[in-house]
């Protein structure tokens, strides 16, 4: 066979490229249908029907929306900084997709005796990579808001930046408890620890709640959607945007939701682990297990997306000072207490 004779490094490159293409496609499709899901959930909560015109149950609604956004007129304000105006939505989209690189989607596949891990990069810094990308995610909003040269956009951008920087702190502190149990930053070994010892949410319920609240804030979702508070800021940081640039900003939010759902599933809900059963005893093939694991992982991530929507249509928006008080005066001390208690417990167990 000619194909098998090529250098192993090319196999690695091919398999990573395929995996990247697959993960990005999945993220995009999930984000597309999350817009549909959001409207259906909203409709359900408000006792309406929701989109039902395009296709059966309105299933083609996302395509109609995308088509509309693509064919709308593209406007770049004369007084804006042109390059930065375009860079803003691009950055928002790139950072939204980058996080998916370190998420372990399932157990390794087995192709012709070659073990193919379903994780794009199992880097040593693992979860810190996610934090790095999240901290860069602010720039999409900030640059877009500033480059629009519009007061409302600027206020929204400044709000967004201070909100995201503030909530990164309790997010990181809440995570430290998990890292103390896992003893490693690699996402794959965090999942492996949970497969062996049970899910982190059992040991770290407070840590999970803090992390979840911070994830809501990082995604700019209600009750923390101050950067796009329509009734105060017209439309928020993307007010001057039209056509697909606006589409990218809105789309990036849904991708962020999906990816943060996946991150929470990995960190606190055992990733691709199936609860209450020992799936290793089933004696299924490696590839079957990989597919089942992927399905389990996806359903956990999508469940979090649903919870995000549920919260959006249930809870009103915070005031700005309430947001800051919650972040700095409530969540940071709580996360610190959680960290100290978990550190003491880990020390006591390992003495």
């Amino acid at each position: 066979m000619y194909l098998l004779a090529i250098d192993p490094i090319w196999w690695l490159i091919i398999e990573k490229l395929v995996l990247i293409a697959f993960v990005i496609t999945v993220s995009m499709v999930v984000a597309m249908y999350a817009t549909y899901g959001e409207r259906k959930v909203a409709a359900f909560m408000q006792d309406r029907i929701g989109p039902n015109r395009a296709g059966i149950f309105g299933i083609f609604q996302p395509f109609a929306d995308a088509g509309k956004l693509f064919f709308k007129e593209e406007i770049i304000p004369v007084s804006s900084s042109r390059f930065l105006f375009i860079l803003g939505p691009a950055l928002a989209m790139i950072t939204a997709l980058l996080t998916s690189a370190v998420i372990p989607w399932s157990v390794p596949l087995d192709i012709n005796g070659r073990s193919v891990p379903l994780q794009i990069a199992d880097v040593d810094v693992g979860i810190l990579f996610v934090f790095g990308v999240v901290s860069i995610g602010v720039y999409g909003i900030m640059i877009g808001g500033w480059a629009s040269n519009n007061k409302f956009s600027l206020i929204a951008a400044v709000r967004g930046a201070s909100q995201m920087v503030s909530y990164e702190l309790p997010m990181g502190l809440a995570l430290l408890g998990v890292l103390l149990f896992a003893g490693d930053l690699r996402m794959s070994s965090i999942v492996q620890t949970q497969v062996e010892h049970g899910w982190n949410v059992i040991y770290q319920p407070l840590g999970f709640i803090i992390f979840f609240i911070c994830a809501l804030a990082e995604c700019n979702r209600t009750p923390f959607d101050l950067p796009e508070a329509e009734n105060e800021l017209n439309f928020g940081y993307h007010q001057e945007y039209s056509s697909m640039k606006l589409g990218f900003y809105l789309f990036a939010e849904y991708i962020n939701m999906f990816i943060s759902g996946a991150v929470m599933a990995v960190l606190f809900f055992g990733g691709y682990d199936i609860p209450f059963v020992n799936e290793a005893a089933w004696g299924l093939g490696q590839n079957t297990m990989a597919i089942i694991g992927f399905a389990v992982m996806m359903s956990k991530a999508l469940f979090f997306v649903f919870v995000f929507m549920w919260i959006r249509w249930t809870i009103p928006r915070f005031r700005y000072d309430q947001l800051m008080t919650l972040g700095w005066k409530k969540l940071v001390p709580l996360a610190l207490v959680n960290l100290i208690i978990s550190a003491a417990v880990v020390l006591w167990l390992k003495k």
Binding site: V125, L128, I136, W146, A157
Partner: protein
């Protein structure tokens, strides 16, 4: 040239070019954005040296937090108008001489340095991985590490005291 060298030159060119753009850009917001590009290039250098932790912390702390605060301030003060006052000619000359002397001292000091002895250990060095780095920090360098954390704490307390309204 192997791939490490190509990466090194690529990152170096980006780092130097963007650092030059930081000081030559007229608009402070553009300066900050170029500085972020510089940080990314430097993080790339850290990754080439397999110092992953340092690379990602550089991005989280500098590019992700400190630069956001810089941008925050620059965006809120109106810098579109060219408010920069014309500098005195003598100050310019004095600055040129001071900078030139610093460069001279640096070159004189670094001229005889044996670069080979300072090999960063590309591909062989694992000290930058979190486990090794953590062990080193909390055994060999525990006193400087703790001292610097006390320094940070005092800086934080100082910032809170200065920020109080009364």
């Amino acid at each position: 040239m192997n791939i490490t060298q190509i990466l090194f030159w690529f990152l170096s060119v980006i780092a130097i070019f963007s650092a030059l753009m930081v000081i030559t850009s007229k608009n402070p917001v553009h300066s900050v954005l170029w500085l972020i590009v510089t940080f990314f290039a430097i993080s790339g250098h850290y990754i080439v040296m397999n110092a992953q932790f340092l690379a990602i912390v550089n991005i989280i702390v500098y590019a992700g937090a400190i630069m956001v605060l810089f941008l925050h301030v620059f965006m809120l003060i109106d810098l579109r108008a060219n408010t920069e006052p014309q500098q005195n000619r003598w100050i310019k000359i004095a600055g040129g001489i001071a900078g030139g002397s610093l460069m001279l001292v640096m070159i004189a000091a670094l001229r005889n340095v044996d670069i080979k002895a300072q090999d960063a250990g590309i591909n062989t060095n694992n000290i930058g991985l979190i486990k090794n780095l953590g062990r080193e920090l909390f055994t060999t360098y525990v006193i400087p590490f703790e001292l610097s954390s006390v320094l940070f704490l005092s800086a934080m307390v100082g910032a809170v005291v200065l920020g109080k309204k009364d």
